[in-house]
């Protein structure tokens, strides 16, 4: 990703950096990732309203936790096993705005599925981002299996997977964390708790306030982070990743996030969420909060923020135009990849 020229970091910046072992440049990169993801995400909705893409499911409100928690992973070495809200997570791990947009337009060269899956079903073999399906929670077992292979093969890899709090009530979640706990596998399970499973509120999803309390049932740490606090998420993620890499086993991280949009472009959230609630939730948006934090620390200023915005707008425009211009999948390819194809 392109960089902008830096001033020597201020005392506050050094403080903020030092405390977390992050350079000003890294902090700015994290900010850029969150802002870029948000811009890509907002564009999806614009395209949907314009009738250009039939479906959108997005991660607005979840980006801070995703970038923070996964930022310490080793790209191309470790693994991420995402879910449909993991836009920021997969972009942090190597996918680009073009990758996201080709999936939105279901183009032939869509990295995730060649236009075969709905948007939001991310995957990229070359980045160790596992292909996402729709049935929720199944991926937690895949992440655990990847971690098992890493342990058996001694590859020193760490796996991060994510799911919603609603999905965490599925049996697969229980079976996955149970197995990860037994073998102390290098896997971090992130529950992005936004308080709803489509329209079903927390109170009808579980009897507990915090999914993290369930970690004790698998003899692993259960950490709660405020999804609007990017650096808090970073700290929790880094510690869990380091612990996993040291062979000290799995971690469950619960990120309290907010869902700033409807569940998907097929949902009408005003039917089950009050205007007041939606208004209130806006305050939990990680993007403005992180921006302010970096500006207070003198790491960002109006000028830099504007520069990044311009840069991001250009990237999103490029990705949109480029993706839209790509060819659609050829029906002649529809029968490919059911089974391995004999080498020519």
């Amino acid at each position: 990703m392109a960089t902008t020229k830096e001033r020597p970091p201020s005392a506050e910046a050094r403080a903020l950096g030092a405390e977390l072992g992050l350079s000003a440049e890294q902090l700015i990169e994290m900010y850029r990732l969150i802002a870029l993801t948000r811009a890509v995400d907002e564009r999806m909705w614009v395209l949907n309203r314009a009738g250009k893409v039939p479906f959108v499911i997005s991660g607005q409100g979840h980006e801070g936790a995703q970038v923070g928690i996964t930022y310490s992973l080793r790209k191309g070495h470790d693994w991420v096993v995402p879910f449909y809200r993991s836009v920021a997570m997969v972009m942090t791990f190597g996918m680009t705005a073009r990758d996201i947009m080709t999936a939105q337009f279901a183009r032939a060269d869509d990295t995730s599925s060649g236009g075969r899956q709905m948007p939001g079903h991310y995957g990229a073999a070359r980045h160790n981002i596992l292909s996402t399906s729709s049935p929720v929670a199944t991926q937690v077992l895949h992440a655990v299996g990847i971690a098992l292979a890493a342990k058996i093969r001694g590859t020193d890899q760490v796996v991060v997977t994510a799911l919603g709090e609603g999905a965490s009530n599925q049996g697969d979640f229980h079976e996955a964390l149970n197995f990860a706990g037994i073998h102390r596998l290098p896997v971090i399970t992130v529950v992005e708790n936004n308080g709803y499973a489509i329209s079903v509120p927390s109170a009808l999803e579980t009897a507990v306030d915090d999914i993290a309390v369930r970690a004790a049932g698998y003899a692993m740490p259960g950490i709660i982070v405020d999804g609007a606090d990017v650096l808090g998420a970073y700290k929790a993620g880094r510690e869990a990743i380091e612990r996993a890499r040291r062979g000290e086993g799995p971690t469950l991280i619960e990120a309290k996030v907010t869902r700033l949009t409807a569940h998907s472009s097929d949902d009408q959230q005003t039917k089950y969420r009050s205007a007041e609630e939606l208004e209130r939730e806006r305050e939990r948006d990680p993007l403005p909060r992180f921006r302010a934090q970096l500006m207070d620390a003198g790491i960002l200023d109006e000028e830099k923020v504007a520069a990044i915005e311009t840069e991001i707008k250009a990237a999103v425009d490029d990705a949109t135009d480029w993706a839209e211009a790509q060819p659609e999948p050829d029906p002649a390819t529809a029968t490919r990849h059911v089974y391995a194809e004999p080498e020519a």
Binding site: R116, G171, V200
Partner: protein, 327 residues
């Protein structure tokens, strides 16, 4: 007589049955305030409250397993699986438990449970929001499987399913929810499970179908009529128990049969019907039993170019009819 869509017919039938019998409850993901992702349960929560219209956690095995328990203790649960594609986490509860409770207990326990689920492609749902899953369940003794294709049938069949003392899977084609309208009487009529419907009489070729394909079969029959091909169309409506008599009688008359199903071809539901005809109507067959089906790929792809390639349209049925008629 009221004219309504398929989804309206289902919604009204659920409300009727809940008014008629307080042991009927509805449970599933988002069936409450939201009224279901397709609005099949819209308004039920307001009328009957959270005790009888239960927004469940995102756990299908629980939805079916708890329905089994509730059904042996005096209730008639009507669980909704949000998409048929998501019925698989409940597969063990359905196949190992729900289907076998009566048999394994030597008839001392039974489960009056009706599982509703939207199925089918052609709605940009891709691999996991487009599947036809009936074949996995029609194979299971102890289960009944129903697929309505009209608002009238949906009402009569759903009533019979809910009042049935055995488990019923009730699959509703998403593409029909709002695209098909029809007259539905106010009366408390039912349509018995296990009866197919001859939706068009003909002499040369029998076309067997259900769900969305039952409509395409009729369109195809119209298209070939001008060519002097007289097609008999049968809407199976109940896949199990199968109405063998109606099917076999028709094939005895026409001597030729096209079976249409949207699901993957290999081992799909229609294979059983072909097998039955090849064994029990062999002497009457004047041509091969032709299947028009979905292709054998793991799901309906998303891109419209690929989805169009996957889905059956009336023209493909026409082509099969022509070929067989000319045989």
């Amino acid at each position: 007589m009221a004219v309504m869509t398929l989804i309206e017919s289902i919604r009204q039938t659920l409300a009727d049955e809940m008014r008629r019998d307080e042991s009927v409850i509805v449970l599933g993901e988002d069936v409450g305030k939201k009224g279901g992702v397709f609005l099949a349960t819209d308004g039920l929560h307001a009328e009957f409250g959270g005790d009888r219209v239960i927004d469940t956690p995102l756990t299908e095995s629980m939805i079916v397993g708890a329905s089994i328990g509730a059904s042996v203790n005096g209730l008639r649960p009507v669980p909704e699986i949000q998409f048929a594609d998501f019925i698989f986490p409940a597969f063990n509860q359905i196949v190992s438990e729900l289907a076998r409770m009566r048999y394994r207990s030597n008839g001392t326990f039974n489960c009056p449970v009706t599982i509703r689920a939207p199925y089918g492609g052609g709605v940009h749902g891709a691999l996991y929001h487009s599947q036809s899953v009936e074949a996995y369940f029609t194979h299971v003794p102890g289960l009944k499987t129903v697929v309505p294709s009209t608002p009238y049938d949906a009402r009569g069949l759903l009533r019979s399913a809910i009042r049935d003392d055995d488990p019923v899977l009730f699959f509703e084609h998403k593409k029909l929810y709002r695209s098909v309208r029809g007259e539905v009487p106010e009366s408390d009529y039912t349509i018995p499970l296990g009866r197919a419907q001859v939706t068009r009489e003909g002499r040369h070729v029998t076309v067997l179908a259900y769900g969305l394909m039952a409509h395409y079969a009729l369109e195809a029959a119209d298209l070939v009529e001008g060519e002097g091909i007289s097609v008999e169309v049968i809407d199976l409506r109940t896949l199990r128990p199968l109405d063998r008599e109606t099917v076999i009688d028709s094939v005895k008359k026409t001597g030729k049969c096209v079976i249409v199903y949207e699901d993957n071809r290999f081992g799909g539901y229609g294979a059983e019907i072909a097998a039955i005809l090849a064994e029990d109507a062999f002497d009457y067959l004047d041509g091969p039993i032709v299947r028009v089906t979905g292709p054998d790929v793991p799901g309906v792809p998303y891109a419209h170019t690929l989805e169009d390639w996957f889905m059956i349209d009336p023209d493909r049925i026409v082509a099969a009819i022509r070929q067989l008629a000319a045989y």
